[in-house]
């Protein structure tokens, strides 16, 4: 049973997470804003003119959901992993262990902290995308299924924030942390259909992509905004929720086993 005390201590950790990324707003919000604007400008507008997808969806409209979700996932992951890693450096990570915060409170506070930052960046990306879209097509991109959009953005943001927590607790050096990011996450995000549809891929890669959970998360958002997707709604929902439960379980195990000591 959830007690009032648990909610209070969880709220304080969540509040601390918000304050933390708010204090370095250039790094946490403005940098991703510039990055996504550049992506929209280069891929969506300049190169996008020469890319023709099946159906009548312009390429700019196609990549907006992908970039929104990429912003959400990257930032959710970054937020929780840097929070834990900086705690390992400064030594204040042990506060989470010695105070009455429980494992579930820690996971949910960091997950929501990451999701919040992800939503801000995703929202800004969507806003910038709309400006570009309006300039070219003289109209705004309408959201076809807002509920699906909300569901996939939330479940994706939470999953990636929890994953950031797992990796940061697991990592014993900066090398290990950046290795996970460079060799696993970035390829999975880029191969998860941010910039292309499955139809553009060789059949072997198409088959392999089906094992990438990010494909379902990104296409879930695309389904929400455009009403079109490479995967069915049901499979996107099952994989996304399954992925969240999986990373949540790993996070619980990490917190039980991990060291909260200073690096």
């Amino acid at each position: 049973m959830i007690k009032k005390r648990d909610i209070l201590s969880f709220s304080m950790l969540y509040y601390k997470e918000l304050r933390r990324f708010n204090k370095v707003v250039i790094q946490t919000v403005l940098t991703p804003l510039i990055t996504s604007s550049l992506y929209l400008l280069i891929f969506g507008i300049s190169l996008g003119k020469n890319i023709h997808l099946l159906g009548d969806i312009p390429y700019l409209a196609f990549i907006i959901p992908g970039l929104v979700m990429m912003g959400v996932l990257n930032n959710a992951y970054q937020n929780s992993s840097t929070s834990i890693i900086s705690g390992k450096f400064s030594g204040d990570l042990q506060d989470l262990k010695i105070t009455p915060l429980g494992d579930h409170q820690i996971i949910w506070a960091l997950a929501l902290g990451g999701l919040t930052r992800g939503l801000i960046v995703g929202g800004i990306t969507f806003f910038v995308g709309q400006i570009f879209y309006y300039q070219i097509y003289d109209k705004f991109l309408l959201i076809v299924h807002p509920l699906y959009l909300v569901i996939f953005v939330i479940i994706g943001g939470l999953s990636f924030a929890v994953m950031g927590l797992c990796v940061a607790f697991w990592a014993r050096t900066f090398d290990q942390l950046s290795a996970i990011s460079s060799f696993i996450l970035t390829p999975l995000i880029y191969l998860g259909g941010v910039f292309f549809t499955l139809e553009n891929l060789h059949p072997t890669w198409q088959a392999l992509s089906k094992f990438n959970p990010l494909l379902y998360l990104i296409n879930g958002v695309r389904l929400g905004i455009l009403g079109q997707s490479d995967v069915s709604l049901n499979s996107a929902l099952v994989v996304s929720f399954g992925f969240f439960l999986f990373v949540y379980f790993i996070a619980l195990r990490s917190l039980q086993k991990a060291s909260f000591s200073r690096w």
Binding site: K4, R5, L8, S9, S11, M12, L13, Y15, K16, R19, R20, K23, V24, S86, F89, S90, G91, D92, Q94, D95, L96, K97, I98, T99, P100, L101, G102, F260, S261, R262
Partner: protein, 303 residues
């Protein structure tokens, strides 16, 4: 009533190294208990197990009757912990850190307590500074304030005066004594044995992970050390022989006598009266002497 802290048959291993070997002790309500030992003796490992930073391999730890492994939350509300190493908290000010820390203990409006602690620990003027801007001594005081935001009944201090100047040490101990008066029980580890002697009613001495001695500080001193008595004789030609005499320098006779023997007895055995001597000096044994004795004894036993 359950004791503030009960450690029973505690064992802690790091890989193949046994850092804590079957250690047992209890704290009594409102006492300051010193856990002493050289570096690597297992002091921090024991404290880490108490505050749940480490999991014991064997044994039981209870804080006011709450098992720290089974009822960790209940135990955590009752204790405060000041770690040995400084914490930097890059993003936040001193006051913000205390507010956040209060929140972890589910205390929402804790301003009064926070201001009290900031004042008591001399941090009031620095409350708006980022923690990284504080000096080492201020950071140390902030750690003490953090440990006390939730008014714990058990305070664990892991070498709180390491690298701290004399003035701050004195003010810190004064504050700890005030807490003791309020009924807070304190477990402290320190390398400054003079401080431990002055503050602690009881001490436990650790060596290589084992608790080699546990008892009242005063009893340990009287049991394990000698009084050093020295005097000069008015009649400098008089010869004195006694089994406890250790030295004679320029008509100054020096004796090491056990606490079981009174100075009166010594004088009687020497057939001397107070009128026969000048410049009588009595130097009491110290906890440091007792500590050294124990460590040497332990080393010889384990040769």
């Amino acid at each position: 009533m359950a004791p503030p802290l009960k450690v029973q048959n505690l064992v802690k291993n790091y890989n193949k190294v046994q850092a804590v070997k079957n250690v047992s002790f209890e704290l009594q309500p409102g006492e300051i208990f010193g856990l002493l030992g050289p570096n690597g003796a297992g002091k921090t490992s024991i404290i880490s197990c108490i505050v749940t930073l480490e999991t014991p391999n064997e044994g039981l730890i209870e804080v006011f009757g709450h098992d720290v492994t089974q009822q960790a939350k209940a135990a955590k509300y009752k204790m405060g912990f000041v770690p040995q190493e400084l914490i930097h908290h890059g993003f936040f000010s001193a006051e913000e850190i205390l507010e956040i820390h209060s929140g972890y203990y589910c205390i929402v409006n804790n301003r009064e307590r926070i201001h009290y602690l900031l004042n008591e620990l001399g941090l009031w003027e620095h409350k708006d500074k980022k923690v990284r801007q504080l000096s080492g001594g201020m950071k140390r005081r902030l750690l003490v304030a953090k440990a006390l935001v939730h008014e714990p009944r058990l305070l664990l201090l892991d070498e709180p005066t390491a690298g701290v100047d004399i003035e701050l040490r004195e003010s810190l101990w004064k504050f700890v004594c005030e807490l003791k008066k309020e009924g807070v029980s304190v477990l402290l580890t320190t390398h400054y044995l003079e401080e431990a002697e002055e503050l602690c009613q009881r001490v436990g001495v650790l060596s290589h992970g084992r608790l080699i001695k546990l008892g009242e500080t005063h009893d340990l001193i009287t049991e394990l050390t000698h009084r050093r008595v020295s005097f000069s004789l008015k009649n400098s030609l008089k010869k004195i022989h006694h089994e406890l005499k250790t030295e004679e320098l320029n008509n100054r006779h020096i004796f090491n006598i056990p606490y079981t023997k009174s100075i009166e007895e010594l004088f009687n055995e020497l057939s001397l009266g107070l009128g026969d001597v000048t410049d009588l000096k009595i130097q009491e044994g110290s906890l440091e002497d007792a500590f050294r004795y124990l460590l040497v004894e332990d080393m010889e036993e384990n040769k």
